[in-house]
Amino acid sequence: MERDLEQLHSALNYLKVLRSNVGQVFETVSNGLGANHGEEGKENKFMIELQELLTTVNNNLRDIETTVSNLTTPTGPFNLGNTSYLSQETTQERQALYSQLVNSYRWTDKVRDYSSLAGNILATNSVSKTYKTLSTTKRRKTQTSNHNVPPEVIESLITSIDRLFPDVTITASRPFAPNPIIQASLGRVLKSIIAFKGLMIEWVVVKAHSESNDLWTESRYRVLRKVTENCHAAMCHFHSPTMPELAVRSFMHWFHSYNTLFSSPCKRCGNYLHSNLPPTWRDLRTLEPYHEDCK
């Protein structure tokens, strides 16, 4: 199969060379005698030039014939399935559909390959961000999509979170509609910028109030970079594909416990500072503060 394709490609290449050389012959003929042939014996020179070109064309033709004879003839006609009806399409702009169709077919094929590979890898070390059951034999009841939800649903989720905590103020913007990016200010302590993908939290970054609101630069403060890191861990921990709203709510509940980031001592060692950082970890269940090394 692979060899066949290669030969087909080289045959097509030879055809291209032949075409361009034939084109050159016609060009030379149509130009006729010119200043570049000089004065003396110009007819002779022209003939020689033409002859050379024709020899090249001859050689090209031989190349094609040998490669074509090496090609294996396909057994029977190709079965194009329903796509053969595309040939009956009459409108001009739809005639290009076939190549697009082939491309998307290839693409889906690749997606299938990659996803089965990824499935194998993830099955060996399951993260709670993926479905635990990868078997296709027993399908669960079909999941509602979490990626593609109407904006009103997300909107109402955000408003309900906003109401849940009085010291959390939320402002939402939608640069990539319908996926909102919310900015949650936690009192005067810190703020976080949270990007949603449908009903799921896609990205979190924690910053000081004085810092910019963009999603990609991290905080200049060590403590807030640490909190960002921990938020990523918690985001994966709380993630639940089956109950996305609950996941967001639990995450926010946990996140809210950072309102004492600077003012509460570590539950384990009783100190405020450990390697010059306050307790940057909050227990996922009890929400108690711990230092990175004390949890």
Binding site: R188, S210, V223, F262, S263, L273, L277
Partner: protein
């Protein structure tokens, strides 16, 4: 700009100023701090002439952390008015020296090395009044936090860990009335002025 605490460090008998700074530099370096340049805070005080009625005092301060700003604090006797302006204010003061005259021998400054350690900024300042060494002021800033009430305990732990028991358990007097407010650079200036005034009043070295 985070919450800043200014703290006087006592000079023990027969230890000079440079030796004290040296000792503190060693301590803070041992904790993992790296030196990031020098700093300077200075203060000059002007008083109004008699013809202008009851006397008013203007303190003009500069802080190398905000190099483009001139801070001034006007004391009318009943009110204290802080002002943050750009560098031209210095020129304005020289123009006004017929009405506001600089007090003799009162130029105070605190300068020395500046360290970064985690999110803390530590400055070890030798205080001099017209070139005479008066004592050591330690400034500690916790950059991520802007409300003193939230991070005082944390800063106290840091200060005590590094300066020892000379650090009181209560915040500096100036901060005590502003624990719930958002901290701004002028608050640091107020703390410096408070300390500088005490140095001016005490003859000799402050221990």
């Amino acid at each position: 700009m985070g919450v800043t605490v200014l703290q006087q460090f006592p000079i023990v008998e027969n230890r000079t100023g440079p030796l004290t700074i040296d000792l503190l530099t060693k301590r803070i370096s041992a904790l993992g701090a790296t030196q990031q340049g020098q700093f300077l805070v200075d203060c000059e005080t002007f008083t109004s002439i008699q013809q202008l009625g009851h006397q008013r005092t203007v303190h003009v301060l500069h802080n190398s952390e905000q190099p483009a700003t001139v801070f001034s604090i006007l004391e009318t006797g009943t009110k204290t008015i802080p002002l943050a302006t750009d560098g031209l204010f210095d020129l304005l003061m020289t123009k006004m020296n017929n009405f506001y005259t600089a007090k003799k021998q009162t130029k105070v400054e605190s300068k020395g090395p500046r360290f970064e350690i985690g999110d803390f900024l530590v400055k070890l300042g030798s205080v001099t009044i017209t070139q005479n060494f008066k004592g050591v002021l330690v400034e500690v800033e916790y950059k991520p936090c802007v409300v003193p009430a939230m991070c005082w305990e944390l800063m106290r732990e840091f200060l005590q860990g590094f300066l020892g028991s000379s650090v009181p358990n209560t915040p500096p007097a100036y901060l005590q009335n502003r624990m719930q407010e958002i901290y701004t650079p002028i608050d640091t200036i107020h703390q410096y002025l408070e300390q500088f005034t005490m140095y001016r009043k005490s003859p000799g070295m402050r221990t």
